[in-house]
């Protein structure tokens, strides 16, 4: 195993997914909103980036828009697209609570998936948009692998700082108050609907940026990449890391990605061995999940300072 390669992959994808977990943590653990449609905001960002940076359609392409814009415009567009999608979905749904909100957000994500699959004029339908533009990193003298790690780490740090800042402020305490007791919060003059809506929308923006970064790394956006599996992955990471602390959820996500990578870095020289490993991986994943949930190492680590 090449440890450098392993580290690069874990950091790139780990930080990318951590951005989503941290935002989900803000929505769920602090805002009390169960969002089962995380992937939709991620997809909105990725598609917006691809559409803005893509060249106009030619040949067999079926999409209508390709603006051939520089990467940074695409990146901003990704954040805006995710924000807009959060406004559109958040405004009518945030009156719902608990599992009703979970089901509705899940449904919205499925609607977006189905829309992207069937409306070929947006993103080429099931074909997707390939060869997505990447920024030229040679100007800062970094190889692409390192540049993407750096970008992912930076995005995660900024997202974490933003979340911490929000939650440590009086505004954050108001959010906590709404989660703990809506009636009491309303009684002391907090606008419950507005607070929930704001947290929902703010936390969608970094997810959109993560989507753009993801599109740059994979150089492909297609409905296949944005299935409910992404949402579940992020939720599992959140549960493993233990909700409530930013450090914990990041650790949980990194651990999940590391586990996947370590298992996959065992390469097999025969087809039979690879087949067996592919099946065993799922069983092992289950066992390790049970172990982590039983002993909660990440939650303990993240809250260690506080208990002391």
């Amino acid at each position: 195993m090449n440890f450098e390669q392993l580290l690069l992959t874990v950091l790139t994808y780990g930080c990318l997914y951590s951005v989503m977990t941290v935002c989900l943590n803000l929505q769920y653990a602090r805002g009390g909103m169960i969002n089962f449609g995380t992937v939709a905001y991620f997809a909105a960002g990725a598609y917006a980036y691809a559409i803005f940076t893509q060249e106009p359609p030619q040949g067999l392409d079926q999409y209508l828009f390709g603006f051939n814009a520089p990467w940074w415009i695409g990146f901003i567009a990704a954040g805006v697209a995710s924000l807009l999608f959060a406004v559109i979905t958040g405004w009518p749904t945030l009156r719902l609570r608990g599992e009703y909100l979970a089901l509705t957000t899940f449904a919205f994500a499925e609607v977006l998936h189905s829309f992207l699959l069937n409306e070929r004029r947006i993103g080429n339908g099931s074909v997707g948009l390939s060869n997505v533009d990447r920024p030229d990193f040679s100007v800062i003298g970094l190889s692409e692998n390192y540049a993407f790690v750096l970008a992912a780490v930076l995005l995660l740090i900024l997202t974490s700082l933003l979340c911490r800042r929000i939650l440590a402020s009086p505004y954050g305490r108001a959010v906590d108050a709404v989660r703990n007791d809506e009636v009491a919060a309303e009684a002391i003059g907090k606008d419950v609907h507005r607070l929930r809506f704001e947290i929902f929308v703010i936390s969608a923006i970094p997810i959109g940026f993560a989507g753009a970064l993801y599109a740059m790394i994979t150089t492909l956006v297609s409905p296949d990449l944005f299935t409910a599996e992404v949402t579940f992955f992020v939720w599992i990471a959140l549960v493993l890391g233990g909700e409530h602390t930013i450090k914990g959820v990041i650790l949980g996500t990194l651990a999940l990605v590391t586990f996947e990578e370590v298992v996959r870095s065992l390469h097999f020289e025969t087809v039979r061995a690879a087949e067996i490993a592919a099946s065993v991986e799922h069983m092992m994943t289950g066992v390790i999940f049970v172990m982590i949930l039983r002993w909660q190492p990440f939650t303990r680590f993240a809250t260690r300072g506080r208990e002391a």
Binding site: N2, T9, N118, G125, S126, S222, D224, F268, A274
Partner: protein, 405 residues
């Protein structure tokens, strides 16, 4: 209250897994690594196993013949589950950590996602079944396939529908790239030939019924229905169309070219009136027969779909390494077109190696047919039309690659 023992369990687990990793890394020197990146799990898992098996069969034969000048072929096999993101992660590891000179076997979606990586890292990627039309534009340099483009399937279907002399045809197409692109080509052929296209309906799979889609199709009473769908949706469509009064003929695409379809849909509904089109190796070629015999002997049983195309991939890689004398993706890329086009015809690695050693130019004729790459790195395909008769598919017509020139 007893953290110590728990930590030691975790620690032991960690040590054990590290030990496992380290032992698996003890690879021998004088080898050249080729990655096999296929879906072993998921929807396309069955195809992936056939492809990996085909590559393995070829690699064993190459190593038995003394290996390449870069050493014996060492395969590293990884499962993508058909997911492009996993594909990128696995391929990066194969290239960066294992120094793979080529990555063989990705499916369409993964292949498209890998184009950029292949060109950046100067590693050859090759697929035996990625028919996606996206590669018609992206392929060529470092990106190859030993199967024809989906457009070829469409051309073959169109040709058959035209030759069959139908006056009107309805199209029912599952909403997938691999089914829509060929359907569009077939549609153009029909339009050019002046055949009436009664409907062109794209449907989403996974529905309990397709009555809604069939209403207009059946009302127009076409002579034939072109059905490009998966096994699940296809069976339901066949049953519902028949019970809705459809008495014309069918043309199916590759997904339905399996014997199970007769049990699932009912042989009575298909016999004598259903045809199926799929890309096929020319079974009459001596190279294919030799491969079939080898497969029977080493793997047991007849080769599955794309097995011959997969077997050819590793042969091309090995012969390119031999011909270029450079043990890298760039070396392969620089000569891969030459080893299968022009020169002395060879049909096995040993023959090719000997001819190259004598300084000759070689033309490798594959088990799946001639492997002349066009500018997009795609080979021309041959297609078979089979007819449903007595509860099985029997050969009706073979279109060699030359039929489409």
């Amino acid at each position: 209250m007893e953290p110590k023992p728990k930590r030691s369990i975790l620690l032991k687990g960690l040590i054990a897994s590290t030990a496992l990793v380290v032992t698996s890394l003890a690879a021998a020197a004088e080898e050249v690594t080729v990655g096999v990146l296929v879906p072993l799990t998921g929807e396309l898992g069955e195809f992936g196993k056939i492809v990996a098996g085909g590559v393995e069969l070829g690699a064993n034969e190459i190593n038995a013949a003394g290996g390449t000048s870069c050493g014996n072929i060492r395969l590293v096999v990884a499962d993508t589950g058909g997911n492009p993101e996993v594909g990128i992660r696995e391929a990066s590891k194969m290239i960066e950590s294992e120094n793979a000179v080529a990555v063989l076997g990705p499916t369409s979606g993964v292949m498209v996602a890998l184009v950029d990586l292949a060109k950046r890292t100067k590693t050859v990627i090759m697929s035996p079944y990625a028919g996606t039309i996206t590669l018609n534009e992206l392929g060529g340099d470092f990106v190859y396939r030993t199967v024809s483009s989906d457009l070829g399937d469409g051309a073959a279907s169109g040709l058959w529908l035209k030759e069959r002399g139908y006056k009107s045809v309805a199209f029912l197409v599952q909403n997938e790239e691999s089914t829509i692109s060929p359907a569009q080509v077939a549609r153009t052929t029909l339009e050019d030939a002046g055949i009436e296209l009664t409907d062109f309906i794209v449907y989403n799979p996974g529905q309990p019924s397709y009555q809604a889609e069939l209403i207009s199709v059946l009302a127009n009473e076409p002579d034939a229905i072109y059905l490009a769908g998966g096994q699940e949706s296809g069976v339901t469509v066949i049953k519902e169309a028949t019970s809705g009064g459809f008495e014309g003929e069918w043309l199916f695409t590759a997904d339905l070219a399996v014997p199970e379809i007769f049990d699932a849909a009912g042989a009575d509904l298909l016999n004598g009136r259903a045809y199926v089109e799929f890309a096929d190796a020319d079974n009459s070629l001596p190279e294919y027969k030799a491969f079939e015999a080898l497969h029977q002997e080493k793997a047991g049983g007849d080769p599955g779909p794309f097995a011959a195309n997969s077997y050819d991939m590793i042969k091309l890689v090995a012969l390119s390494l031999e011909a270029s004398g450079v043990c890298s993706g760039e070396g392969i890329n620089s000569v891969i077109r030459d080893v299968s086009d022009g020169g002395e015809t060879v049909s096995s690695f040993a023959e090719g190696k000997a001819a190259l050693a004598e300084g000759k130019d070689i033309n490798y004729e594959g088990a799946s047919g001639p492997l002349v790459f066009d500018p997009s790195g795609t080979v021309a395909g041959a297609y078979t039309i089979q007819k449903a008769e007595g509860g099985e598919w029997v050969n009706e017509k073979f279109y060699p690659a030359s039929a489409f020139e």
